[in-house]
């Protein structure tokens, strides 16, 4: 049995998407993205810029709070930065990465946080997509899905809240939103990206102990499986120690109960 949880593994996978000097926005109810930002800053990307929903830049929290817009996330920040100003930065092309949760994600990386069923008479009304319909159109996003199953990974989302590659290929350009797009999808089973031509979702690596069949069975569309599929690199000892120290209450596990 691994000495890390799937939450910890996913946090590290998200962290690896952050490069040094990247400007990253971490949103509300984002337990894994906040871990990812703090991990990246503490290890491989010390000059990443962490902007958060508590409206600050580069905080140094002693402990991760449950509400990811909570006051503890202001601690030792270098400045307040209202979210509307961060969005201005994004519109200038100066925000590098966001992390995105979703109830559904489809083959082309479109995400749904609005409705299951028809929009006007929904079967299930979801909470709404937060920043996604704005930011997904203009920048890179990494999507995280804590429960990889065929209800979450679907052929076509019921409603496009956050723009992925729409109908694939050059559809984004055609819609007037040439920049950015979803880069990776990190789930509790694997990591996926998007095939450059068709923009269809493609397996990149499978988490340790997960079988390819399990991934396929839990995906609601035909996933591109390249000849070579890696095993996801697990968190190392330092990363685990860091997470457990900065998150003693287990905020990172919130989505896995």
């Amino acid at each position: 049995m691994a000495d890390y949880t799937v939450a910890e593994l996913m946090a590290v996978c998200l962290a690896r998407e952050i490069k040094d000097r990247d400007r990253v926005l971490q949103g509300l109810y984002s337990p894994l993205p906040i871990m990812a930002c703090l991990l990246a800053k503490n290890f491989h990307a010390p000059n990443m810029v962490h902007i958060n929903t508590a409206d600050v830049i580069d905080p140094e929290p002693t402990e991760v709070p449950f509400s990811t817009a909570g006051p503890a996330l202001q601690e030792r920040a270098v400045a307040y930065l209202p979210l509307w100003q961060t969005f201005d930065l994004a519109q200038q092309g100066k925000l590098d990465l966001i992390f995105l949760g979703a109830a559904q994600v489809d083959k082309y990386g479109n995400t749904n946080l609005s409705v299951i069923g028809p929009y006007e008479k929904p079967k299930v009304r979801l909470p709404g997509g937060a920043a996604s319909a704005h930011l997904c159109a203009i920048m890179d996003a990494v999507i995280w899905i804590p429960r990889h199953n065929a209800r979450a990974l679907v052929e076509k989302v019921d409603f496009i809240t956050g723009q992925g590659y729409l109908t694939g290929g050059k559809a984004r350009e055609g819609a007037g939103i040439p920049k950015g797009g979803p880069r990776k999808v990190v789930t509790n089973l694997c990591i996926m990206d998007f095939e450059p031509e068709t923009k269809a979702m493609r397996l990149v690596s499978i988490h340790p102990g997960v079988a390819l069949e399990e991934v396929k069975e839990n995906t609601g569309f035909e996933l591109i499986v390249p000849d070579k599929v890696e095993t996801t690199e697990p968190p190392n000892k330092e990363e685990l120690e860091f997470m457990r120290q900065i998150d003693p209450k287990g905020v990172r596990e919130l989505e896995f109960h």
Binding site: L28, Y29, P31, T53, A54, D55, V56, P65, F66, S67, T68, A69, G70, P71, A72, Q74, Y80, P82, L83, W84, F87, A90, Q91, L113, S114, Y119, K121, P122, K123, V124, R125, P127, G128, G129, A130, A131, S132, A133, H134, L135, C136, A137, I138, F159, I160, T161, G162, Q163, L166, R172, A175, G176, I177, L254
Partner: protein, 271 residues
């Protein structure tokens, strides 16, 4: 400058009318103006159009209590405590009208009003079904470059309600933590009601000009309401009360549970 100290009851009854557009401060369960929200529920205000970005218990309670006609929002959720069930139920039955947004489009609609403009352009939004179904968003071309942009219709609040840290009796307000959009909402509104943890001396305002975040010209009523954000957090004063939010999240699983919560924690209680 005019003195603007009111009680919670006076301010809500004097300055909030049925049918008003009400912008609500705070984000998630942080610095939400919960005492004002509860007083609105107690006074049985009706047909409100509530406006906010990422909202939680504040919106859910107003919706559940039947105060709301329309919701302009980007997200309504109780974060780790799950779904805002009143919001979900009434959205599914069509009892409330939804004006769904992205965070920045709802912020921009407030910002347009704050700038005294009927609309503002915005990047992004195109290609999203949020854009496609919205009556508040449309496509325009930049008159100089020809590039396609979203246009966001202004939302001018009749009233903004916020909770802040300190104010003097004239309504010079200090927010001492995350600003959220509270300042924009106060700029945009016809009237702004603020509850504060502390009333401070006017001389203190004059001696520290740089600490005033919202000057008196934007404020209609100041209410001294310690713990006015509870069970939401108020930076530097208290963190959110997770037990209370959890109790609420459990209660709203059924309309009956919600009604019982309202009776116990709102209607038969004063802030």
């Amino acid at each position: 400058m005019k003195e603007k100290l009111y009680t919670l009851q006076e301010a809500v009854s004097s300055f909030i009318n049925d049918g008003d557009v009400v912008a609500v401060g705070g984000v998630g369960r942080n610095r939400s103006p919960m005492a004002l929200v509860r007083e609105i529920v107690r006074q049985g205000k009706k047909d409100l159009h509530i406006v906010g970005r990422e909202k939680g218990m504040d919106f859910d309670m107003l919706i559940g209590a039947g105060c709301v006609r329309k919701v302009s929002f980007a997200l309504v959720s109780l974060e780790e405590f799950g779904l805002a069930m009143n919001f979900r139920r009434k959205a599914q039955t069509g009892e409330i009208e939804l004006d769904e947004h992205a965070c920045n489009s709802v912020i921009t609609s407030i910002r347009a009003a704050a700038m005294g403009l009927p609309f503002l352009p915005l990047r992004g939004m195109l290609g999203s079904d949020v854009f496609r179904v919205s009556k508040s968003l449309t496509e325009i071309k930049c008159p100089f470059t020809g590039e396609p942009l979203a246009a966001v219709k202004a939302i001018k609040p009749d009233v903004t309600i916020i909770h802040a840290h300190q104010a003097d009796k004239f309504g010079n307000v200090r927010i001492q933590g995350s600003p959220f959009e509270d300042i924009l909402k106060a700029w945009a509104a016809e009237k702004t009601i603020v509850t504060v943890e502390e009333i401070i001396d006017h001389e203190e305002i004059r001696n520290n000009t740089h600490l005033t975040t919202i000057p008196h010209i934007y404020i209609t009523a100041v209410i001294h309401q310690p713990k006015g954000a509870w069970p939401a957090s108020c930076d530097r004063y208290y963190d959110s009360d997770r037990e209370e939010v959890k109790t609420y999240a459990q209660a709203i699983k059924t309309p009956e549970g919600f009604q019982e919560y309202l009776d116990r924690r709102v209607l038969n209680r004063r802030d």
